[in-house]
């Protein structure tokens, strides 16, 4: 449905989560990570979520990004009910609508920097010429143009995270989800990531990030705290 197509419809709500709950079973014991979370994020909005470790920030982002499914409740992104989609539809959704940035970067070790940025576009069968130009442009934006042919193992943590941002932007998704993007970085690299966020915000991207970084938190239009599985402003 999404692969190869851009979203053209005008949607009033970018993300809408209603009474969202998620329970994990660990060693026979059930742990309710999210308890009836309600959240509405509008297009172009920058939302920041903070909270102690284990409070469910990553789980919430995974549910919004369609990586995980809620135990109960509804979640819609750009008007699409994610709970109604099968695995392949969710894969298409993630490829086209969401740019995900993980705390641990998660670059593919066997692909070069360029290839890491290019592969989401290859899945959408974007013409080669366009891929080459866009990869070069994105790497310039994140300041990694000189490292295009390096493998992830040859980069520092900050550099890897910048590549991860370029990868998240490759299909020009309307929604960016960033899970503790500066969690493993030093101040200087964190500042670079903050600059990237500032740029994305100016481009009108909808951004949801979980972070403890004060600079990023300060950039947000709306700020939430997740505590005991509940979201508060």
């Amino acid at each position: 449905m999404y692969r190869g197509h851009s979203i053209t419809t005008s949607i009033s709500c970018a993300v809408s989560a209603a009474d969202l709950s998620k329970t994990y079973e660990l060693s026979g014991e059930e742990t309710e990570v999210l308890k009836g979370v309600n959240l509405e994020v509008y297009p172009g909005e920058f939302v920041s979520i903070r909270g102690s470790s284990g409070t469910g920030k990553t789980t919430l982002l995974n549910l919004i990004g369609g990586i995980d499914r809620p135990t109960s409740g509804k979640i819609a992104v750009f008007g699409e009910d994610l709970t109604q989609k099968d695995e392949d539809q969710l894969a298409d959704f993630r490829c086209s609508c969401v740019g995900f940035v993980f705390q641990a970067y998660n670059l593919i070790s066997t692909l070069t920097v360029s290839e890491n940025v290019a592969f989401p576009m290859e899945w959408r069968q974007t013409p080669s010429e366009q891929i080459i130009n866009r990869v070069a442009a994105l790497l310039e934006i994140v300041g990694m143009g000189q490292r295009a042919n390096y493998f992830p193992s040859q980069l520092s943590g900050g550099e890897q995270q910048r590549v991860a941002f370029a990868r998240a932007l490759s299909n020009d998704p309307p929604l960016i989800l960033a899970d503790e993007p500066t969690g493993n970085l030093d101040n200087m690299n964190s500042q670079r990531i903050t600059d990237i966020f500032r740029l994305l915000k100016s481009q009108g991207k909808t951004i949801i990030t979980s972070t403890h970084d004060a600079n990023i938190f300060a950039l947000a239009d709306r700020k939430f705290t997740l505590e005991n599985g509940r979201l508060t402003t």
């Binding site: 990586i67 998660n106 066997t110 070069t112 592969f119 899945w123």
Partner: protein
């Protein structure tokens, strides 16, 4: 926690990996041992008993079985070394972690050496016990009474010790390497990488990306990849030799046996003589403890000219071939030849002696399929064709008797006062190849037995066989109530069935080895998946579909399998046709049958290797993201 308890607990915790390694080791040891024991029984067993199958067939089978035996041993050894290496290479990160936690080098090596020892002892012991059990079952199965008896315990010891030592040596290497490595290096993904940073970026298609991921994944595990390709190559050499060899050898040898009798031929003889002829042919596939001396020249066995005349008048009879069967003492007559290089005169053969069945035939009616030389000339009175067992026992070099040069085709066989130039050697099931065919007229002259004691009657292709045989039977009973009519095809079928059963058993031998190889490849791919699981999960989280995992693993599996298959099958075919089987009988059907078997093996292994990929593709993304 002491040095024994920790590895034991660790092995129990990693149930899947431990059981897979122990299973592969056990399967490999068991298959190698049972195959070696079987080969030993079939090869050496037949050679030593010497009273079943002709010497020519025994030689083909023995050569074949010996080669298979060597290959089986090599395959087993390669599998064991691969498994031990793979198992311990997978633990390199764990070794790094333990070292990073402050464990001294000696203790780290001790932990993992104990773990390796426990696995090898379990695998080898289970393997030896299973191998002996399989050998027991096979040797007691209905068709192989001749290979009963105790297994060769030296082979059991050889397999256990060799495989134990190999597994230990090859398993130790990565442990010692990792225990000497710094924790940072042991934990670093860089030690796996064989990647260069100077790659030109070219966007590819969806499948191009999967191919690139798969190819580089294989490259970065270069050492393990080369090992598994080498392993599969040798496994496929074995499979090809056994499958192609068995089919070709079976077709060829069966055709030799079948050529000794026409399906529409019956033999007529006095009932005692008929029973003796039946016994002579049955010796090929049945062991007889003691055979009483039979007086072939007994006049009661003479078939009268009147009876033969009656046969000629029966409609549907196309050929009548009266023969005289006797048992005589024969002797080898030596000869001389000239060495083409030195021009020296060299003695050929000696004066060896022995007993043999002699069959007097009308040369014009003798159409024998010789494996060497030709048949007797129609007008000749002094030529002979001998069975391959006589050729092996009386007309082949025998260094222990100082006979370095011997060749039946340049020698002569002496029977009583007469001598016959040997013109052909053939595989003949009669009396297990201890048979000599000579012109009946000369045989009668030198033995004074002037009658025939068996008559072969061929029924015309156009005639109804059953009706004609019934008519022959009726006429012969009228001529002499003691005459019996026996169908040659019946005895022939029994011999062919026996031969086919031996070859088909040999053909299923690689099944065990193929199973071990498939499990090894699964083990390798599980290791590959384990290493790539987080990346596959990331790819799926970023929009890749579940089939990406399966496709990528399928690519990796195909590359490895096809490499091993290509190398193994080509070498296997060369070995089969050039080394093992002289004068092979290869038809289009044979080729198709071989191709079908090999292709089935390839597809079977391929499907098995995809199981872990399907299992991972179905599991939730987040399970592998951590």
């Amino acid at each position: 926690m002491n040095e024994t308890f920790f590895p034991l607990a660790d092995l129990l915790r990693r149930k899947l990996q431990t059981s897979l390694v122990v299973t592969i080791l056990a399967l490999s040891v068991a298959s190698t041992l049972s195959l070696l024991l079987f080969c030993d029984r079939v090869g050496l067993g037949i050679l030593s008993t010497g009273d079943i199958m002709t010497k020519g067939l025994t030689a083909v089978l023995f050569q074949f079985v010996t080669f298979v035996e060597i290959l089986v041993f090599a395959v087993g050894a390669v599998i064991v070394t691969f498994v031990a290496y793979l198992m311990m290479t997978q633990r390199r990160r764990d070794i790094g972690l333990i070292k990073a936690a402050g464990c001294p080098n000696g203790l780290v090596a001790g932990y993992f050496m104990t773990e390796l020892l426990l696995v090898i002892i379990a695998g080898c012991t289970l393997g030896v016990l299973s191998g002996i059990f399989v050998d027991y079952v096979v040797s007691r199965s209905g068709d192989y009474q001749f290979i009963q008896g105790n297994p060769n315990y030296w082979l059991v010891l050889l397999v256990f010790v060799t495989f134990f030592v190999l597994a230990l040596v090859f398993g130790m290497k990565p442990i010692l390497d990792a225990s000497r490595m710094s924790p940072i290096k042991a934990l670093s993904p860089l030690i796996y990488f064989g990647l260069s940073g100077k790659k030109e970026f070219k966007p590819l298609s969806d499948h191009g990306l999967t191919w690139r991921l798969s190819y580089r994944s294989l490259v970065r595990r270069q050492s393990a990849t080369l090992r598994i390709v080498a392993l599969l190559s040798i496994v496929f050499i074995l499979t090809t030799v056994v499958v192609a060899g068995s089919i070709i050898a079976s077709d060829s040898t069966v055709s030799w046996i079948e050529s000794s009798s026409d399906g529409k031929t019956v033999a007529i003889a006095h009932m005692e003589m008929a029973a003796q002829y039946d016994l002579l042919r049955s010796k090929f596939s049945t062991h007889f403890d003691q055979v009483e001396r039979f007086n072939y020249s007994d006049e009661r066995f003479a078939i009268s000219p009147d009876a033969i005349q009656l046969l000629k008048n029966i409609p549907g009879v196309s050929e009548i071939d009266p023969r005289l069967i006797l048992e005589e003492h024969i002797r080898e007559v030596g000869n001389f030849t000239i060495d083409p290089e030195t021009l020296a005169t060299l003695p050929v053969g000696d004066s060896r002696e022995g007993d043999s069945v002699i069959i007097g035939v009308d040369p014009s009616k003798l159409s024998l399929h010789s494996i060497q030389g030709r048949t007797i000339d129609a007008g000749s009175l002094s030529e002979a064709v001998i069975g391959d067992s006589i050729a092996h026992s009386m007309f082949s070099p025998n260094p222990s008797k100082g006979i370095s040069l011997s060749n039946p085709l340049v020698q002569t066989v002496g029977i009583r006062g007469g001598s016959f130039t040997i013109v052909g050697v053939r595989v003949d099931p009669i009396n297990n190849g201890r048979v000599v065919y000579v012109p009946i007229q000369k045989l009668a002259n030198i033995t004074d037995v002037v009658y025939t004691n068996i008559v072969f009657v061929t029924v015309a292709q156009s005639a109804d066989f059953t009706t004609t045989v019934a008519e022959i039977r009726r006429n012969m009973t009228e001529a002499n109530p003691n005459l019996d009519v026996i169908e040659i095809a019946h005895i022939s079928k029994k011999n062919v069935g026996f031969l086919k059963s031996i070859w088909s058993t040999i053909m299923i031998l690689p099944l065990f080895v193929l199973s071990s190889a498939a499990l090894c490849l699964v083990g390798y791919l599980i290791a590959a998946l384990d290493e790539q699981k987080k990346e596959f999960a990331t790819l799926r989280a970023l929009g890749g579909k579940s089939k990406l995992v399966v496709t990528s693993l399928a690519f990796q599996s195909s590359i490895i399998l096809l490499s091993g298959f290509g190398i193994g099958v080509s070498l296997g075919i060369v070995v089969t046709l050039v080394i093992l089987m002289a004068n092979p009988l290869v038809s289009i059907l044979t080729v198709l049958e071989i191709a079908a078997w090999l292709f089935s093996a390839l597809v079977g292994i391929f499907i098995v290797t995809l199981i872990p990929a399907f299992s991972m593709a179905k599991s939730p993304i987040l399970r592998h993201m951590i």
